[in-house]
Symmetry: C2
Subunit: 340 residues, 2 copies
DNA sequence: TTGTACGCGTTATCAG
DNA sequence: CTGATAACGCGTACAA
């Protein structure tokens, strides 16, 4: 079912059909109606490939997600969902592409084959070769997270450094002196994963600023790792009375380990962090946390990318989100009595 | 960077470049090498739209996921991941499209705009309008789950009916007399969601066959619902000693509710079900369950779709998977003593 | 309102 | 047997 067929049946030329659809030139109401009727009858829709070829754009954006997908955190899943939602609203399709060494061909297809008009890149590293590849290919892109040199790049990020700092401050205000940071995995940190490294910095700075003693614990993104991590903290530093976590996927594990150790939250141990609202509310007791606005981030990323695609010469825009800390029930004053 | 540019720089014609790349005709090694050199230099890749237009296929498949995406179960997430993986291996791209009323335009674009060569449809209903739309458009598709009339349709599914039956049998063998089925949500069942309805049937049949008393409980896909559901079971039917669950997302809630009620698994209450391996192993104690082979399903779905696309006249194939029940630690003999 | 050139890769056909 | 020419797929937009 192509435009020629529609034109023939409506008794007009192909260009008239095209104009009737796009509205870029006036077409008499009668012919327009006749055309529309034929179109409805045959369920005609312009061939995406032909249109893309002519217009030079695909009306599709690429979303590059971290591998392996099945370890996507809830936050990331929410983000993917909101990108899908926002793209759909803007009549854009989304080509989902896993990143990673084994998927390099897929990434190159996306970029060099011009299958998409722009790309949203998740889980960026401080040094990221994909950024260079995208730049070189002249493909518009927005990164989630920012590289070590974010100038000239469009990005959206969460201010992990500031948020972790505020979490530490909150604990300090409540009298905690020995606190732990439960970070993302050691591998990710070694790999130059921004949020992890910035959480590290924010923690170190705040601990120093408020005169606390801080211990950092990297932790893999799953419940068993969270369990083991809390176990280690309690063993190695029993003086720790509170922890800041940026690892939402490990939360169920914390719960188990604390429970097993007979520690109640928050009476015996306070927990605060950065997490998707869902996880924070699911935790028992509900977790005091800065709720990462994943849904907003997805929408903003699509918005930024759309702007960039529309005007490639536009000045890069950034967005550093710093959601407020929602006070729930997982933090209390330190057990000062027991320490005197 | 188009093929003409490459041809010019290599001093040959466009067709020679094309033949050198596709290998559909012999090209002398020297010219081939020269062409390859220019290509490498400029990172040339054929424009996907032009190729799609000419070849009549996009080398892209559509994956239609259930909305809202953020409620994707772990099983579904695993499935998406494996589709991505399998497609990537077959040099296919994946266009992710949310289904649902608000996303109808996106679905139509996919189908009528011929943006994809074929579609994988997740979370199919017994009566599903999308299946009709795909059929009418002549678009190859594979469904995950099967409709009430699955003849002539390509599909991959898990034998929920048989699996639930086997779970019940296992409980019956261990002396349980009063058992519950924790199903998916009432809305999904009302909507004609196949797995839920087939679980229902399998449960009813098996309960009758083994002379047990069965109670069915629909339950939304999240932890709080699971918590509430167990609460209800214990209240309304304290005689129940075991439950079969097909609702993995509610598992964490079961755990909480059972714990709160002071019931230990499996000593006081047995739990068995159908779930992703990940959830089964994460449960405490590890859940005896039929592990849904989501990864295999994704690979099979892509394989089937590829076959279908390659030969549209081929006889439809189906795959009804029936994974074995993995014995873990959540089931024990019924507490017969207390009942006498 | 219509005719037509264009975007770009593929392949049938023709020339060497 | 190698290389070049040209038509084609389909929607868009300029010129007529």
């Amino acid at each position: 079912m192509n435009i020629g067929e529609i034109a023939k049946r409506a008794g007009v030329s192909r260009s008239t059909v095209s104009y009737a659809l796009s509205g870029k030139r006036h077409v008499s109401p009668e012919t327009k109606a006749r055309i529309q009727q034929v179109i409805d009858e045959l369920d005609y829709r312009p061939n995406a490939a032909a249109r893309a070829l002519k217009e030079g754009r695909t009306r599709t954006i690429g979303l590059v997600i971290p591998p392996p997908v099945r370890r996507l955190t809830y936050m990331q899943l929410e983000f993917v969902a909101s990108v899908l939602e926002a793209a759909s609203q803007a009549d854009l399709d989304v080509l989902l592409s896993p990143s990673g060494d084994t998927h390099a061909p897929a990434f190159s297809r996306l970029i060099d084959g011009r299958r998409v008009d722009g790309v949203i890149l998740m889980e960026i590293r401080l040094q990221d070769p994909r950024v260079d590849q995208l730049r070189k290919a002249g493909m518009p892109f927005v990164t989630i997270g920012h590289t070590a040199h974010p100038e000239g790049v469009w990005w959206v990020d969460v201010d992990y450094q500031g948020l972790v700092g505020r979490c530490v401050k909150h604990l300090a205000d409540l009298g905690h002196r020995d606190v732990a940071l439960i970070n993302r995995s050691a591998e990710m940190l070694a790999d130059g994963y921004g949020p992890g490294l910035r959480a590290q910095q924010g923690f170190a700075q705040a601990v120093a600023q408020y005169g606390l003693t801080g211990f950092e614990y990297p932790c893999a993104d799953d419940a068993p790792a969270g369990d083991a991590c809390v176990e280690r903290i309690l063993n190695e530093h029993p003086e720790v009375t509170a922890a800041v976590t940026v690892n939402e996927s490990a939360l169920p594990g914390f719960q188990r380990a604390l429970q097993r150790a007979g520690l109640r939250v928050p009476a015996d141990f306070s927990l605060i962090g950065v997490a998707a609202q869902h996880w924070a509310e699911e935790f028992q007791p509900p977790l005091t946390s800065a709720d990462v606005p994943a849904v907003q981030m997805g929408a903003e990323a699509v918005q930024l990318l759309t702007e960039y695609i529309a005007d490639r010469a536009a000045a890069p825009k950034h967005l550093l989100l710093s959601p407020p800390i929602s006070l729930r029930d997982s933090v209390s004053r330190a057990r000062t009595l027991e320490r005197d």
